[in-house]
């Protein structure tokens, strides 16, 4: 392996799959940032971007493909195509992301043919997360908490279990809490919101009587449902907050009809995506005011239970 420098050059992140996508994401982010910048602003100093609550996969930003990836910013420069709607939407995404950074509640619903397919409520605050599967409240694992780096789950009898560190649980057995939490970490922050709003095409704006504003457009499925893993020989694409994408949503090139609704305060209240007979919505509430989840009292340690079980078996 020579002296390592050939290997080092081969390890250049540009050589990894997904690099082209990361540049597209960057182009969208740049477009949104510039659209949101005050017209004619040339100030040398501006606010340092607020840190998001969570990080998206390092693989995306450091992933790589060909060296000469050219992403035309296209509408960036077009006077008519970057309209006030794009600017307002980017601004709303920024405001919302800032509010969501601290705490918030997101309710995710997915329906097919009008029938409920899944529903989850995610609350987060001070770095802790609570995830409740509303569609299967009685099922073991329907409620999961991450508080101070420890995962708690409810078992089928309704008792709390201290499951320990998220990385310790069920490795190699499908979607682990660590994987799910990683996805949620991405989605409760501003990254997902900015990505979706920044990528909207054919944007139109309509104002409702109650003062809320609906932005409608299309977004590439590949930017909505990101690749998250490999299962049963196939890459899986997962919608924000953890639902596996089906149908057109799993085809990254599909253009999915997307609406973003902002309230009178211009904070994003809902993102809705439709394809075929599917409808996927994320509703945001109590951004910045959601109380942080607290660790349950009297949670039994899974590790202790296992030890007891082992002793009993002997």
């Amino acid at each position: 392996m020579s002296d390592g420098f050939d290997a080092l050059r081969r390890a250049n992140p540009r050589a990894r799959t997904g690099f082209a996508e990361s540049i597209e994401v960057a182009a969208e982010a740049v477009r949104a940032r510039i659209a949101a910048a005050p017209p004619g602003a040339t100030s040398r100093r501006r606010r340092v971007p607020r840190r998001r609550l969570v990080g998206i996969s390092m693989a995306c930003a450091s992933a790589a493909a060909g060296a000469a990836v050219i992403v035309a910013l296209g509408s960036l420069g077009g006077g008519t195509s970057i309209g006030s709607a794009h600017a307002a939407l980017a601004s709303a995404a920024g405001v919302t992301a800032s509010s969501a950074e601290r705490s918030g509640t997101a309710t995710v619903r997915i329906t097919r043919d009008g029938e409920a397919w899944g529903s989850t409520t995610v609350r987060w605050g001070q770095g802790d997360v609570a995830i409740r599967r509303e569609d299967r409240p009685e099922q073991a694992g329907a409620l999961m908490l991450l508080v101070d780096g420890t995962v708690y789950g409810v078992e089928h009898r309704g008792e709390w279990l201290d499951l320990g560190h998220p990385g310790n649980i069920d490795p190699d057995s499908g979607t682990t809490p660590a994987e799910y939490l990683a996805a949620v970490r991405e989605d409760v922050g501003g990254a997902t919101l900015r990505r979706l709003t920044g990528a909207m095409r054919n944007l139109s704006r309509s104002e409702r009587n109650d003062g809320s504003v609906v932005y409608s457009g299309t977004v590439s499925a590949g930017l909505i449902a990101r690749e998250r893993g490999f299962k049963a020989g196939q890459h899986t694409r997962v919608l924000p907050f953890g639902y596996v994408a089906h149908g057109e949503a799993a085809d990254p090139d599909s253009q999915l009809r997307t609406t973003v609704t902002t309230g009178t305060d211009r904070v994003v209240r809902e993102i809705a995506v439709r394809w075929g007979t599917w409808r996927y919505t994320v509703t945001y509430d109590e951004l910045g005011t959601t109380p942080a989840p607290v660790a349950p009292e009297n949670a039994k340690s899974l590790e202790d239970l296992r030890r007891q079980q082992l002793r009993g078996e002997r």
Partner: protein, 189 residues
Amino acid sequence: MKGTDDRRRQRFDALFAAYSPSIVAYCGWRADSASDAQDAVAEVFLAAWRRLDELPEGDAARVWLYATARRVLANQRRSTRRREALRERLARERSPAATESPGAEEASVRAALMQLGPRDREVLLLSEWEDLAPAQIAEVLGCLTVTARGRLHRARRRFRNAFESLCGGDDECPAHNNDRLLRGEHQHV
């Protein structure tokens, strides 16, 4: 006026098309997380958009972008220290699905890079991954060319030693035989 705006936008589009892969890659390996990287890239090009008239032409613009990215990333780190505990709690675990597993060779490279100090790593990767000459590295780091050259020399030597200590021979490379490096104990550089 419109003609000026059009020229400005054309120049920016050309700048982005030419150098966004470089800045995305650089921020990717320098940032703490991909969202930070994405933020940084956007921030860098927003700065470029605002200061387009002051930007140097040609390859010097690329160096300007690297230097700006470096400052943006440094600011990010400073502004986020208060959230270090949160990061540790939430970012300690990287999703296996979200992180592309490196091959054995890449795992060895990463392990060797992690044995270097951050300064050595930075200067080495600016040279090897970003293909910057010592004078350009000096500009990015804000030091003399002779200093950058010296740092690069030392970083190369340390990397070579680290890599050789990990991979004494082709077949004995720990990374080839040890899943530890592939199971997530590697770190992003």
